[in-house]
């Protein structure tokens, strides 16, 4: 009877092998599908058990923190309410994540460090995330958001020397604490009139209006084709790409210097400069400034858009035959730019031509207060020579001293800037108004871009005073 017993044992081996096979199936081969199954609450519950790290402002002010609930789970609280909603974002297990909460999720959950998390798993330690310290300035952020008030618009302020984002304000805002409540996210998503969830600093594409002339000025001076005192005819109704172009209010000028043309924002001068430089040169400088690429900042990829020419709603290269480069040079020709992009333009001029990569997170700090990661200043491009930057900066200073941007003048501090008023003729209001600036002109520590939708006024009247307040606060 021993032979059948041996065969029976073989049967048992086969049966047990099937058991291990099926265990492998669920733990290995089909594990991803099971973990992603909508009925599976485990990933959700696991996430809720992680104490996410806090997000802090530059001065340590708490912007987001995890609070413990009764049942070993955590939920997210945002002590500053709507103030930092777009930069910080939100994180709720059932509703997803946005902003830095998403971009820095690995650090905040402590899963970024593979070795560390493996050790935690083996030792059975409760999963804990690291804190993220940002570069945001609560005082200036509050001023910016309050100044925007009921308007739709955005304010971005950068430290031109490092790329640190000091202000990222988008109006209207929302209270990230409310996202955790049922149906709030759906309701906010449906609010297409106000689009409160939209981060207008990086997700909105607006016509830049005359602020684009700063880009043209950079190309003109740095290419060596023009000097600030080069003279160009500023007559009204000059033919550009065969079609007559008007100046603001139909004003006519004679042969004027580029400095004068920037100060008075003369369309026909800059359009001619653009045409002379050509699409190739303009395209080169735009690329160096970051146009054509998703806004370079540490936010999730789906919260950043590219700035550039969108002839039929899609991004198209600048240097093609069909481009009306003259009108592009003054901010028309279906240009759509993000406020962050225009802040980067001001920042490049401010920092001697070196464009630094904008960043909101400054460093990652573990529970023991040690800095795990520090975001070092990173040069995106040397857009122009230091000499060209100084020349363009001087031209921009004139704008604030005696031109369209006088409303941004600060007592005792030289401000360099440029206004913009793009006529969009939307039902809500005729103009997209802009102001980009940096200060102090001699040793810039802050670069800003301010824009408002649907304005009745002009950039110099509506946007420049906001830029002034923000810069004043940041230079305190």
């Amino acid at each position: 009877m021993n032979a059948p017993i041996a065969r029976l044992f073989v049967v048992v081996i086969v049966l047990f092998a099937v058991l291990i096979g099926f265990t492998s199936r669920w733990t290995l081969f089909e594990a991803d599908a099971l973990n992603a199954n909508a009925k599976n609450q485990r990933p959700t519950l696991t996430q809720q058990r992680i104490r996410r790290g806090a997000i802090q402002a530059r001065d340590g002010t708490l912007l987001a923190r995890s609070t413990r609930r009764g049942d070993k789970t955590y939920t997210r609280a945002y002590p500053r309410g709507p103030l930092f909603a777009h930069a910080v974002g939100y994180s709720f297990t059932r509703f997803g994540r946005s902003g830095l909460e998403q971009a820095r999720n690995d650090d905040l959950t402590g899963t970024g460090n593979e070795l560390g998390s493996l050790f935690d798993r083996l030792s059975g330690a409760e999963p804990e995330g690291d804190d993220v310290r940002t570069t945001l300035d609560p005082g200036a952020q509050r001023i910016a958001l309050e100044a925007l008030g009921d308007h739709k618009g955005a304010v971005v302020a950068l430290d031109p020397r490092t790329g640190a984002v000091r202000v990222m304000a988008s109006a209207p805002s929302y209270d990230p604490n409310s996202i955790g409540r049922p149906r709030t996210l759906t309701r906010l998503n449906r609010d297409e009139g106000r689009s409160p969830l939209l981060n207008r600093t990086t997700q909105a594409g607006y016509p830049p209006g005359s602020t684009m002339k700063v880009v043209t000025a950079i190309a003109a001076i740095d290419s060596g084709e023009y000097e600030p005192d080069s003279r160009v005819d500023g007559a009204n109704a000059k033919p550009i790409s065969g079609v007559p172009l008007n100046n603001f209010g139909g004003a006519a000028f004679g042969d004027i210097t580029l400095t004068e043309a920037l100060t008075k924002s003369v369309n026909t001068v800059w359009a001619e400069v653009g045409e002379k430089l050509g699409a190739g040169t303009m395209g080169d400088y735009m690329r160096k400034l970051g146009f054509g690429e998703q806004a370079a900042v540490d936010l999730p990829s789906d919260e950043r858009r590219a700035s550039g020419r969108f002839p039929d709603g899609r991004l198209a290269p600048v240097d093609t035959d069909s481009t009306d480069i003259g009108r592009l040079a003054i901010g028309q020709e279906k240009l759509a730019v993000t406020p962050l992009q225009m802040a980067m333009v001001a920042s490049a001029v401010a920092n001697g031509g070196r464009l630094m990569r904008p960043h909101i997170s400054d460093r990652v700090i573990d529970r023991d207060g040690r800095t795990v990661t520090r975001v070092e200043p990173d040069e995106l491009a040397q857009v122009m020579s230091a000499d060209s930057a100084a020349k363009v900066g001087a031209m921009m200073s004139k704008v604030v001293q005696e031109g369209s941007g006088t409303a941004a003048a600060l007592t005792g501090i030289d401000v360099a800037g440029k206004t913009g008023t793009a006529e969009v003729d939307r039902r809500c209001g005729p103009n997209q108004v802009w102001f980009i600036a940096f200060a102090p002109a001699a040793d810039p520590r802050v670069a800003v871009a301010v824009t408002l939708e649907c304005s009745q006024g002009t950039g110099g009247v509506v946007a420049a005073p906001i830029a002034k307040q923000v810069m004043q606060e940041l230079l305190k």
Partner: protein, 429 residues
């Protein structure tokens, strides 16, 4: 050469290490200091193992030295696992260990010559069948998830099937020892398959009928498979006719298929098994929720597991985590590797069981050891197979690991019988 009992004692060393490591892991996970009380647990369990060892040293000096340590590994692993799920349950389980070990010792002392069991085979068979039917008795019977497996007597609830499996194997071993020659000699080929002579076909059909009736009555496909599989294993070893086993399996399949149509409880179990993520079945009472959660828990465990004490068990996420789904908890915490190690431990125990059967010198002993080992292996297959969706999920226990007094006590009796057979087989003549 080291004697059998000394080898057993040596083999108990890794058991004690595992137990200590396991309890330590749970304590560390709970952030507690190693309290005296907690350590007492481990000490008591080790003391019990040593006491058992001493009993074996005096009563069964020649018995297989590895079987008891292997079962002790499983038992202590189970105790730590249950302790991790619920400390109170672990305390109860520890009490059942004491009861089980007492019954183990009683079995060994009173059944020194276990062959007397043959004399009472019909009584034992009747008791076995009666035990199986107990859960259907009004008043004491209990229905869990549509299956009738438990009996409630006052505060005590027990699963008679755990004891019935031993009784029925004793009967089958004894009956087939007598008839095995006759079954083979009179066999004739019919339509390409070998069938036993008609005279002996009757009793075999009766066993099949009993299994079908059981499936019909207790409505649990897993325990029926376990019993009938045990029967086929003994039948196959007794006759060495593969065709008998195959015909038996086919008949079981056909019968189950018919009952699947007839009995809605069995039908819904099978549906839940085939489509665990179907929303209607998932949300149905006693539907596929348990199986789906079992699979989610295993996926969550992955290859290395979440770590000891890390499984999510709150809010009824894993129904019956300490009994039916304990394998899913193991996989969740220790991963594919840990779960495979548990299966391999069972395989080693099964190997010792079959080894005992091959060494036994008389037919009854061989068939008894084979049957007990086979039914033990099948029980592991039925519950782990249910948890891993190989077969429909049923409510039998994972021997020595699952929480449950009847299971522990009955399996200690099973172990005692195997050791009795082993001692007799290895004794110098």
């Amino acid at each position: 050469m080291i004697g059998a009992r000394n080898r057993e004692l040596l083999a108990l060393v890794p058991v004690s290490l595992l137990l200590t490591a396991g309890f330590t892991a749970v304590f560390i996970e709970r952030d507690e200091v190693l309290s005296n009380l907690s350590l007492t647990y481990g000490a008591i369990f080790l003391g019990l193992c040593l006491a058992t060892h001493v009993v074996l040293r005096f009563t069964l000096p020649h018995a297989d030295p590895y079987l008891f340590p292997l079962f002790a590994v499983l038992a202590c692993f189970g105790l730590v696992m249950i302790y991790r799920i619920d400390e109170e349950l672990a305390r109860e389980q520890a009490q059942w260990f004491v009861v089980g070990l007492i019954l183990f010792a009683v079995t060994i002392v009173t059944l020194r010559d276990y062959r007397v069991l043959e004399r009472y085979r019909y009584t034992i068979a009747a008791v076995g069948l009666a035990l199986l039917l107990l859960p259907r008795l009004p008043g004491i019977g209990q229905q869990v998830n549509g299956a009738y497996l438990a009996v409630k007597l006052g505060p005590l609830s027990f699963q008679p099937a755990e004891f019935a499996k031993i009784a029925i194997i004793i009967f089958l071993a004894s009956y087939l020892r007598d008839t095995r020659q006759l079954l083979v000699i009179g066999a004739r080929r019919f339509a390409g398959i070998t069938l036993p002579p008609p005279k002996y076909l009757g009793p075999l059909l009766a066993v099949w009928g009993a299994a079908m009736a059981m499936l019909f009555v207790i409505q649990d496909i897993g325990s029926s498979l376990m019993f009938f599989g045990g029967f086929l294993a003994v039948l196959y070893v007794a006759t060495d006719r593969l065709s008998f086993a195959l015909v038996g399996l086919a008949m079981f399949a056909v019968g189950s298929r018919v009952l699947y149509e007839l009995r809605p409880t069995i039908g819904s179990r099978v549906d839940a098994w085939l489509h665990p993520f179907d929303t209607r079945l998932y949300e149905a009472d006693g539907g596929s929720f348990q199986l789906a959660q079992s699979l989610f828990a295993q996926a969550d465990g992955g290859v290395f597991g979440q770590g000891f004490g890390q499984a999510l068990l709150d809010d009824g996420l894993l129904p019956a985590a300490q009994t039916d789904l304990i394998y899913a908890v193991i996989t969740n915490e220790l991963g594919l590797l840990g779960a495979s190690a548990v299966i391999c431990t069972y395989l080693l125990a099964v190997q010792r069981g079959f080894k005992i059967a091959t060494l036994a010198r008389d037919s009854f002993s061989k068939l008894l050891a084979t049957g007990l080992t086979a039914v033990f292996a099948l029980q592991v297959f039925v519950i782990v197979g249910g948890v891993t969706k190989v077969i429909p999920l049923t409510g039998v226990t994972l021997p020595f690991i699952s929480y449950g007094g009847s299971s522990i006590v009955a399996n200690f009796v099973l172990l005692a019988l195997l050791l009795l057979v082993s001692d007799r087989a290895r004794r110098e003549i």
